[in-house]
Symmetry: C2
Subunit: 367 residues, 2 copies
């Protein structure tokens, strides 16, 4: 008999990982990036108060973090006007998505998402034996009506919807999203991934109603709060659902320093507003760089800009590779027809200057 004996489910999972990280790319090239614009991190950094809190907490690193994330949940509860019982803190949205899939999805259960949406969600669904039903994007937007219809048809346990969308940067208004929540079929839980909501215009997030059992909303400190390196996300939802995470999660998985940094970040909304301004400015600048190079930047409600390269997926992939070869880290959608685009995280002025210098050469190299 072989040792160890993996479960049948695990033995049949692919060995591929959802994302190759930026550090792995740099190790492959042997050179640092000139501009790190691929992972939708916030190059503007976290609040200086968060950095100070991280430094202050360093000497306390010998103590486990609070398994209940009490202070962080209290700060978030105040910020959102909800109760701490409506908030679950986890190891990034990725960690929370893994927990949530585990809570609901048994082998063979149906799950609905958009074809080309978040690979890490799909990874978790496959990892627990769920059956993914994928709905096409419609004009570079996720398609609420088609998603709902598929959820109804398949009896989906989970319906994943990201607003604003990654990787396209597109978004639906709060009114449409609220209509979607109201139409979720019985027995389906809507995951409303709002990782990028802090970069979206007013009127994108539906009013928070944490007593609505049909929806759970995901937020993160990894994007506009500029704390991807801490890996802290949170779920907002009905208290009975939130309580269920305690049955399966890694209770001490969010560390003490991470919690301290996140508390300071949420309490510095002034910094967040500054970053929001910076993101808007940078989106416009990226749009200009695209236009100067004959490319078309799609409208974005996120901290990245998805740029239509005007040809097919092979061409966009060549451009991506040409940028990577020149040490500019960007990513791109995986699925046609969105894969005609590349996705560039907004940068500081110096990052955008680097891109503006490198992009013409990269394009020329493709001719």
């Amino acid at each position: 008999m072989d040792t160890p004996q993996f479960t049948d489910l695990v033995a049949n999972l692919p060995a591929t990982v959802p994302f190759v990280g930026p550090e792995a790319h740099m190790r492959a090239s042997g050179r640092p990036f000139l501009a790190r614009l691929g992972a939708n991190e916030s190059v503007f950094g976290p609040s200086p108060k968060a950095i100070a809190a991280l430094r202050d907490a360093a000497a306390e690193a010998w103590m486990y973090g609070d398994s209940e994330s009490h202070h962080l949940r209290a700060a978030l509860a105040t910020h959102h006007g909800v109760a701490p019982e409506n908030i679950m803190v986890g190891e990034g949205i990725d960690g929370l998505l893994g927990n949530l899939v585990r809570l609901l999805v048994a082998p063979g259960d149906a799950v609905v998402t958009s074809d080309g949406a978040y690979p890490t969600f799909n990874y978790h669904v496959a990892g627990f034996g769920g059956i993914l039903h994928k709905v096409p994007y419609r004009d570079d937007h996720e398609d609420p009506a088609a998603l709902l219809e598929r959820a109804e048809q398949t009896g989906a346990k989970l319906l994943y919807f990201c607003n604003p969308d990654n990787p396209m940067g597109s978004w639906h208004s709060a009114r449409i999203v609220q209509r979607m929540i109201d139409a979720v079929p019985d027995g389906t839980l809507l995951i409303l991934d709002e990782a990028y909501i802090d970069a979206a215009p007013e009127g994108t997030a539906p009013k928070l109603n944490v007593n609505d059992k049909r929806v759970v909303r995901m937020r993160t400190f990894s994007k506009l709060y500029g704390l991807a390196g801490l890996r802290v996300g949170y779920a907002l939802g009905a208290a009975p659902l939130i309580a269920m995470f305690d049955r399966i999660r890694n209770h001490f998985g969010v560390g003490r320093i991470a919690q301290a940094g996140a508390v300071a970040a949420v309490q510095d909304q002034e910094w967040l507003r500054q970053v929001q301004d910076d993101v808007r400015t940078a989106r416009a600048a990226l749009g200009r760089v695209a236009a100067e190079n004959g490319l078309h930047a799609l409208p974005s409600a996120t901290n990245f800009v998805t740029i239509d390269c005007g040809r097919d997926g092979a061409y966009a992939k060549s451009l991506l590779q040409a940028l990577m070869a020149r040490d500019v880290f960007v990513r791109m959608p995986f699925v046609a027809p969105m894969d005609r685009c590349i996705r560039i995280t907004v940068g500081r002025p110096e990052d955008i200057e680097t891109l503006a210098r490198v992009l013409p050469n990269a394009l020329r190299s493709l001719q």
Copy 2:
């Protein structure tokens, strides 16, 4: 139909959590601890070089941590004389145990452990539907022969063995552990949890043979390295097993700052040796405090001392409560006959002085 629809497995899990954390206890009492000696954290703190590394990394918190933990695995590979392919870094041993159970245990699969050993391991096994078979301790030690026999009888996928042991502080020699590894039944994977190995005498850890497919060894930065607040552990094992974690783990779950702190910690072995000295001194001091109060400290190869209170579990529990009521945080074994004891983490001289002052009053209060 109810929404959300949890899996049958999850719906039947208990709502209890493995451990109530120290912060939750303080919130319950409304007072800070006078001495924090319950969670086997290292009150001596981490290496000053690790603290400096954490502070230096704070400004880089906007970047995701390396999903491959390349530098940390390289540092650990050098330290242990193995290849990085033999090392998986995760969100504490707890996180890795959860991953490992998920890799191997399908509902109904047998798993063997000692009755009274690590509750968080049992929590993960229950969480994936495994059937726990528990073997009694023998003279306050885990019982290798009986564990092996039960694994053979039940066809266990996993056999959990902690050396040195938590919660008893007892240990087996490398020779006995190696004999155990050599006798693991076909089809069973031995988890050798060595969280406390850095506090054990020479000759406790069997030689590291990472190509042995029968065993995976768990290590942590949460104990003698003094970095519980980062939540970083690692598994040492055969490369094909280590690679399987990539199919299911939260790839970016160990943050950037946590990795930076752990690298600095493993590279400061001088600090570790100093802590080892401090731990030995403190164990002896705790033994004296116990004896002065008519209690008997068991021999320990860990950073805690398990103290036999000389009567039954109810008495030990009362003593624990009397100490907690006096703001001295300690814990105790859950299962008879070990629950005649309380478990006290080693402390600095001032922590032990606090205990020496409080313990006589706590004991008197029970008369």
